[in-house]
């Protein structure tokens, strides 16, 4: 199917609203009205808790208990300072950036390489590896968590950031490989053969020809992996007992449960915001990427 045909078949909503201005029928209005009401209600259910959190992060604990709707008497960043400095969220933030940054880079590199070989070369045992990856994707991490604790202890990486990075990479690998496997499979063989013909080595063919071609797939999976790794919870709470090496997600849980009744709710809301803001920023960026890659294929 040619590119031009695809332009015509787009059903991208919004983009083509301006065309075909015909007047709506009654049923259109009813369906549209009901649909909008449903979607607006859902949007409110999604947004309200977040707005509540943002406002709460500026209130004192006393104000929070007085009324869930009241506005803070004075808007200041006291809660953020308390959470960042007093409750160590600054340190955890740094740890999270280090762990997620390194894991993301490694899993993308290793995942792309592994998927490439599995998808495009006949290596003995590649089917076995493929099915093991499938098992790694299906089996619950909980099955592995106890032995994993022992393995990390044995190699002296329990409770360290490198240990955490390694496990993050290992558990994000199957998903990455699967996604990129089908992606590499769909790339044309002619181009790979042309690269060999021109005398490129296997390494060069991958890094200079095949990897750039897989960019859309890589971008999508990198964003998914970033979110998955940033939000990872089980691996750190089980394998990272050292307070100094806490990442944000486990710090949040510890903070929420440790303080009990004397919990500083203001700082709690601020800590929630500190944890959310990076993913929010990535999301805004991701949104553009997503729209871009979807419309690119259809608008030319």
């Amino acid at each position: 199917m040619s590119v031009e045909t695809r332009a015509a078949i787009t059903i991208d909503p919004g983009a083509r609203q301006a065309e075909h201005k015909t007047k709506s029928t009654t049923s259109d209005k009813v369906v549209g009205g009901v649909s909008h009401v449903m979607l607006v209600i859902w949007a409110i259910i999604v947004i309200l808790p977040l707005v509540w959190t943002i406002i709460g992060s500026f209130k004192t604990t006393k104000e929070i208990f007085k009324s869930p709707f009241g506005l803070p008497a004075n808007w200041n960043f006291d809660n953020y300072v308390t959470a960042w400095v007093g409750n160590n969220f600054g340190r955890m933030f740094l740890n999270t950036i280090i762990v997620v940054g390194f894991s993301l880079f490694l899993v993308m590199l290793l995942g792309a390489m592994c998927a490439y070989v599995l998808a495009r070369f006949s290596v003995p045992g590649s089917r076995v590896i493929y099915y093991l990856m499938l098992a790694g994707l299906t089996f619950p991490v909980f099955l592995a968590i106890v032995p994993l604790f022992g393995i990390l202890q044995k190699i002296g990486l329990l409770g360290t950031l490198p240990g955490l990075i390694l496990t993050y990479v290992a558990y994000a690998l199957p998903f990455t490989v699967f996604f990129l496997y089908s992606f590499f499979k769909s790339l044309p063989y002619e181009i790979q053969e042309a690269a060999y013909m021109d005398g490129a080595s296997e390494w060069r063919t991958f890094f200079q020809v095949m990897l750039p071609m897989a960019k859309p797939g890589l971008a999508a999976i990198a964003i998914m992996n970033f979110l998955g790794l940033w939000n990872q919870f089980l691996l750190p709470i089980a394998l990272n007992p050292n307070q100094d090496n806490y990442v944000l997600s486990q710090g949040m849980a510890a903070f929420a449960s440790s303080a009990g009744y004397s919990l500083d709710f203001g700082a709690m809301f601020a800590a929630v915001m500190i944890t959310i803001i990076p993913v929010l920023l990535i999301y805004i960026f991701f949104q553009r990427q997503l729209q871009g890659s979807v419309s690119q294929g259809t608008s030319k």
Binding site: M1, I11, D12, P13, G14, R16, Q17, E19, T22, G32, S35, M38, W42, T53, P68, M113, Y116, R120, F121, V123, I129, L132, M133, G136, F139, P140, L143, I145, P147, L148, F149, G150, L166, V169, A170, P174, V177, S186, P188, Y189, E202, F206, P212, M213, N231, F233, L234, A238, L248, S249, M252, A253, A256, M268, I276, V279, S293, G297, T298, K300
Partner: protein
């Protein structure tokens, strides 16, 4: 047609052009045969052996060990472990709390995917074909706004979602405050502290967290349906509802099946949500799930053998669930001949 339509990108357009020139896409080859040169060997060592080694050591080997540990009485603190056969499993199935946790997990695995997928499918349909019934098939106005907003919970760490809703459900939290605005004063009702409401409230939180992602997934799948098909249906006089049920749903069956399996696996885990909502297992263990019980058994009580047995039960349940879903989907409809991969 090639599956490149969904993803787009300049490289894919090249692919599309190549595919268009050569007519249909060729069936994927098994791979290119290679000579054992130094280049190829070093390439394989780094590209395949390294990632696979990490994967085997940190994922597969622990799985195998766990199965062995489940047959021992290892405490984790002493190096000795005695082989006890299936004793751990017998003990688990006589443990009321564990059986209750398993029941809760099964309930979650049935209810959470069902509700999430129905909501996601309805919203995805509204957004893609809910627009006017004349002219091109298109969605509602402002649909990208709804899509952006709904997807947002997916990017928030699940533990934060759980803690957030824990505060919303609290006696002096947001929910009771809103009910108060409508004149419903329920005496500072603790939504998570009552056996009747703890589980539904928790289910809602999981659905809240996951609908957006599956909505976006389904929207992408629906957009992958050739528009000619939708246009043809419209010319033949199919209304919006008919278009959705007879044209769209059969075409995105595979996506729904995948979504069902992913959601079910997430519900069988449910650890993060439950840990943040009711870390003790809820009133009368009404929201206790196997993963929570496992974690407590391993890292608080130090009964590593017993905890591993729970892991095995959880894994078996997961596989049975995935098998059941695939079986049901296969039984209820043949493979569609859409040719989409």
């Amino acid at each position: 047609m090639s599956n490149s339509t969904v993803s787009g990108g300049s490289a894919l357009q090249t692919a599309a052009v190549v595919t268009a020139r050569s007519g249909r896409r060729k069936p994927p080859r098994a791979g290119l045969p290679r000579k054992m040169t130094l280049d190829y060997m070093s390439f394989l060592a780094v590209f395949l052996v390294l990632p696979v080694a990490i994967f085997l050591i940190f994922v597969i080997w622990p799985f195998i060990q766990a199965v062995y540990f489940s047959l021992t009485n290892w405490t984790g603190f002493s190096p000795q472990m005695g082989f006890v056969g299936l004793d751990n499993f017998v003990r688990l199935f006589q443990d009321g709390a564990f059986m209750q946790a398993m029941g809760n997990n099964i309930l979650l695995a049935i209810v959470v995917p069902l509700i999430t997928i129905i909501i996601a499918l309805v919203f995805a349909s509204l957004i893609t074909v809910g627009g006017p019934s004349h002219g091109q098939v298109r969605g509602l106005k402002a649909s990208s706004f709804y899509r952006v907003v709904s997807f947002f919970p997916y990017v928030i760490p699940a533990i934060v979602i759980a803690i957030l809703w824990n505060m919303i459900y609290a006696p002096s939290g947001l929910l009771n405050g809103i009910l108060g605005l409508f004149g419903i004063d329920n005496n500072q009702f603790a939504w998570l502290g009552d056996q009747r409401t703890a589980m539904p409230a928790s289910i809602f939180v999981m659905v809240w967290g996951m609908v957006g992602f599956y909505m976006v997934l389904f929207i992408a799948a629906i957009k992958g349906i050739p528009a000619e098909t939708l246009e043809a249906a419209r010319i033949d006089g199919a209304g919006r509802f008919r278009t959705v049920t007879s044209i769209m749903l059969p075409q995105i069956r595979d996506n729904v099946q995948t979504a069902y399996i992913y959601l079910g696996i997430a519900a069988l885990d449910a650890f993060v949500y439950m840990a943040g909502l009711n870390s003790t297992g809820g009133p009368g263990n009404s929201t206790l799930v196997m993963s929570q019980y496992l974690f407590r058994t391993a890292f608080e009580k130090g009964q590593f053998g017993l905890a591993s047995a729970m892991g095995v039960v959880l894994a078996v349940l997961t596989l049975v669930f995935a098998g059941l879903v695939m079986g049901v989907f296969r039984l209820t409809g043949g493979k569609d001949e859409g040719g989409r991969s």
